[in-house]
Amino acid sequence: MHLSVKGVSKSFGKGRDSKLVLDDINLEINSGEFVALVGSSGSGKSTVMRLIAGLEQPSSGTIHMDDRLVRGPGPDRGMVFQKYSLYPWLSAADNVAFGMRLQGRNKRDVKERTAYFLEVVGLQDSASRFPRQLSGGMQQRVAIARALAADPKVVLLDEPFGALDLQIRESMQEFLYQLWERSGLTALLITHDLEEALLMAQRVHIMAPRPGRVVRTVAANLDRGNLSALRMERSFLELREDLAGCLRGLDQDPAALAARSLASTTGSSSSG
């Protein structure tokens, strides 16, 4: 599996109202890698993911999946959304089976894989419960199981834990990392949380806003034997602080931003 994003730009709107949200994005993801995209809100990181998923089309540039141009959504690129996207009328098991049934897998296969992936996310006892009977963390685990059961080549995770409480988020991060380690899946994680990205990803891209672009890429080759200890380790904290400083520098403070927009309305600014 090889996913490559080459020179991708994206604008929304037409003519004078058109707004450039992504400028010249380049990314590569290979089989078995865990890559993260970190940026503040407005950096267009979710748009990158939607482009890769095929839910939006780039304005320019190309996205290739194994040398095939991405033209639309497909089961080779699974996705986990931030907001709970489970089907409320289906039990946890039927949610997990949903993608496999869409693809027309045979019944026995569906049944076995559903049981297997529910067990992978530790929810075999909740198979018959409905989404509203599950906690937020459990719902996201079902969503992850559902995405994996559909057998994608790469899983796109769009702030998967963004809506969860801090304690649950930490245990979910450890869960996801262990899952990746065990199953050898390929993952692209979108997050605004640097710690989350550094804990799990081997490569972290930092994105800057207005227009969204990748400003820095770091290889995070850390010893991930014990994630909760890693959170406190000095090298980890230093790397995190370094990148946090980089992110802070990108987010101009509101006063500077106001001054700049004032300048542009008087016609002295020509930059886009």
Binding site: P75, F81, A147
Partner: protein, 254 residues
């Protein structure tokens, strides 16, 4: 507090309301403050109802009206579902049809009666079509709205798992909108009942509406009351039927 809790049961207070009205009616009627010609007592109405029932008129009328309602409304259900889904999920279809439906919706359905009589005569067809016309647009627009509010995450999740066109409609859109569609059908059923009575007032040989207009001619207010109560009770039963179907089939949404 405990009294309040004891009263807080789904049926109890509703029953109290109905019984209070009946009691009030009985009191006013027995005091003879209103001419009995205008306000018959509950007992008289019950008597008239029993008489109609024994003659077989009541059941006959009810079946005639119910048949028209079910015929016209079934047609409306069958046409509005695909139309509403198509309008809700395809922007071009919506742009093509929404102004048209919005316009026709504001034309009062009873105003179509003369036209329907000219086209189709005095038989069953114009009555069934009136109910169809009078409920189709409301049903369609309510279904369209329900489709437009299907969360995009649900659609996009299916797309990223390999879902295609019709699969998305049958496996995501349809189950998601089912509760709202059932509710729309239940609410607009009331309009179907209004229309069947209006149609029968204009031209019919039997039916609850026809019986009411005949009763008016002979100043039989007790029979008018029988007709009104019968219409109300049948409507209530249909409403409860829809609620039952909803509770059985859309447990997740309640």
């Amino acid at each position: 507090m405990s009294l309040r809790r004891r009263l807080d049961q789904p049926w109890l207070l509703g029953l109290v309301g109905v019984l209070t009205l009946l009691l009030l009616w009985q009191v006013v009627a027995s005091l003879r403050v209103v001419d009995p010609l205008f306000l018959p007592s509950p007992a008289e109405v019950l008597g008239a109802g029993a008489e109609q029932y024994q003659e077989g008129v009541l059941v006959n009328d009810a079946l005639a009206s119910i048949g028209r309602v079910l015929g016209g409304y079934a047609l409306s259900i069958v046409v509005s579902l695909p139309l509403g889904i198509a309008m809700g999920s395809n922007r071009l279809v919506c742009q093509l049809l929404e102004p048209l439906l919005g316009l026709i919706r504001y034309m009062p359905a009873p105003a179509f009666i003369p036209l329907l009589i000219i086209y189709f005569g005095l038989g069953e067809l114009p009555k069934v079509l009136l109910i169809f016309i009078g409920t189709l647009f409301f049903n369609t627009l309510m279904i369209m709205d329900a489709v437009k509010f299907v969360p995009s995450e649900l659609l996009e999740s299916a797309l990223t798992m390999g879902g295609r066109g019709l699969q998305i409609t049958t496996r995501v859109v349809a189950p998601f909108i089912a509760p709202q569609v059932l509710d729309a059908y239940r609410i607009n059923m009331a309009a179907a009942w209004n229309l069947v009575i209006v149609a029968e007032l204009v031209a019919a040989n039997e039916g609850l509406g026809k019986r009411i207009s005949l009763a008016q001619r002979f100043l039989r207010t007790d029979e008018i009351f029988v007709g009104l109560i019968a219409i109300g009770l049948i409507g209530l039963l249909i409403d409860l039927g829809f609620r039952l179907v909803m509770r059985r089939s859309c447990r997740w949404a309640i």
